[in-house]
Amino acid sequence: MINYIKSENYRLLRKKSLYLTTAICFILITAAAFVLYYFNEVDAHFPYGTSSFFYSNVLGMGVLIIIISFVYNATLTGKDISLTKQAVSFGISQSSIFWSKLMLTLCYFMFVCIVGILLMIGLGEILFAKEPETTGNFLIASFNMVPIVLSGFILIHTLKMLKISDIYNIIIIVFIYIFSGDLLYFVFRQINGWNEFYLFAPSTQLNDNLMSFMNQSMQLDYRYWVTGIVISVIALFIGAATFTKQDIG
């Protein structure tokens, strides 16, 4: 398995899309910060020249972050999966392939996320006026988002490994991370004991997290982890079991 991970790493580091996506994300973050900074400088009444507004933009784009994670995931899945037939012929198990690709892309993705958060805090601190609680709140909000974003990444990985087409993959992601809360609300609102179930929907949680940040009522919340872990475990269970048994010839 170690050799397999090493070979996949060799492949990953030679994917242009990886560098391009990373560069674009960092450039956009930086550009956004400077645009806010610029307007704040020229217009004394500009209300959005604050680090909390800057941070809230990213917190509000949970789904976009998950979609970006799609690109990272695709560096080792997508068309590359057809090479696995040659790995399997050499005796590498399909479960090694499933987990290696996941772990490797996930590591790079998390690394880029951490660098992104540091970049934002750096820009926020330098360009905007000090707001005592904001940076701490941003870190808490980011931490709350971790399980949701990771569950999205893992779900995407499973769907890609099972060769679900990209369009369906994105539809499923958009549904779960944008519309699931509304759906659960309508389905369960009449049923006693279940009418708060929608609060566990990832889309509701992403919204709540943003709201708490804007209201400055930020705190760590275990429910994000419950939802994230449930989605991840289900995806991994189905994914690993199905992919391992799948004929790949």
Partner: protein
């Protein structure tokens, strides 16, 4: 056990379709075994089961005498190329092979250049795989199967897409690998003549069933030419032939047909001999057996009953 590959009642069903019927098949150490069958006969399906790309519906596979979990080690001694080889289109041959070198734990980097040299791709270092012709892809596939210096090669229609010169090179390469490196080879084709000069054993497969399994020697015997005669008096003809040629080999068939398996170069003399002795010759021709038709056509009739 000297069988490198051994299967017991191996079958494969796709939905209800039994594509491979219970298959007991083995490849012995040192052989070049050719698997001959038309498109759709099940050659690739068998190879995919051997490689683990497909799970057999029933039956067992032994590679180097190992089965199940123990087979992982045995698989490292095998080199597979099944159907069209797949590589990263944006990588050159060297990058592609480097990826597999790392994956397969091959220590020496120079092995990459060695295998590229062997398959004749060493002078195409700049080209990306996506720009390769069919024949070049096939060659890189063979290079990959050689990368980890296997003891057994399993090649699925490796000659597909190669030009005449390429075919000759690959044939020469296979014989060389077999004789010098003692590599056992299992190779498939839908054209017998492609492999007739290479293989030491020929297995014919039809609709997922092995219908013939013959040695090179037997195949050569069967494919030898013969004289086909139709005469009015087979008894007299036999007498004349035996008298004129002491070692004559012939068969008397129904419908007053006689076939002669040797002295073919003396066909003219034989003809004159018969006519001079008042045998009425209705047909006289020298024929070569089309073995593909002989083996694969034969079973078509049987299968359609």
């Amino acid at each position: 056990m000297s069988a490198v590959i051994q299967t017991y009642t191996l079958t494969k069903k796709f939905k209800q379709d039994e594509v491979i019927k219970p298959l007991n098949f083995s490849v012995e150490k040192g052989e070049i075994c050719a698997l001959i069958g038309k498109n759709g006969a099940g050659k690739s399906t068998i190879f995919k089961m051997l490689s683990g790309q497909l799970t057999p519906t029933t039956g067992e596979i032994y590679l180097f005498g190992k089965s199940g979990k123990d087979m992982v080690q045995a698989k490292r001694r095998m080199g597979f190329m099944i159907e069209t080889p797949v590589f990263f289109p944006d990588f050159t041959a060297i990058h592609n092979l480097e990826y597999f070198r790392i994956q397969r734990g091959v220590a020496e980097k120079k092995r990459i250049n060695e295998v590229l040299e062997i398959v004749g791709l060493a002078n195409q270092k700049k080209k990306k795989f996506g720009e390769y012709s069919m024949g070049m892809k096939q060659r890189l596939g063979i290079a990959l199967s050689l990368l980890s210096s296997p003891d057994c090669l399993v090649l699925d229609e490796p000659i597909n897409g190669l030009d005449a010169e390429g075919i000759m090179e690959i044939r020469r390469l296979l014989i060389q690998l077999n004789q010098e490196k003692k590599i056992t080879i299992l190779i498939s084709s839908h054209i017998l003549t492609e492999l007739q000069l290479v293989a030491t054993r020929f297995v014919f497969i039809k609709n997922g069933v092995i219908v013939e399994d013959v040695s090179k020697q037997l195949l050569d015997e069967k494919s030898r030419k013969q004289i086909h005669l139709k005469v009015d008096d087979t008894g007299k003809t036999a007498q004349l032939l035996e008298r004129a040629y002491e070692d004559i080999q012939y068969k008397s068939l129904p419908d007053q047909i006689i076939t002669i398996q040797n002295h073919i170069e003396e066909a003219g003399e034989i003809n004159r001999l018969l006519i001079k002795n008042d045998v009425f010759v209705m047909e006289f021709r020298v024929e070569a057996l089309n073995l593909e038709e002989y083996f694969l056509g034969l079973v078509e009739g049987a299968g359609e009953k």
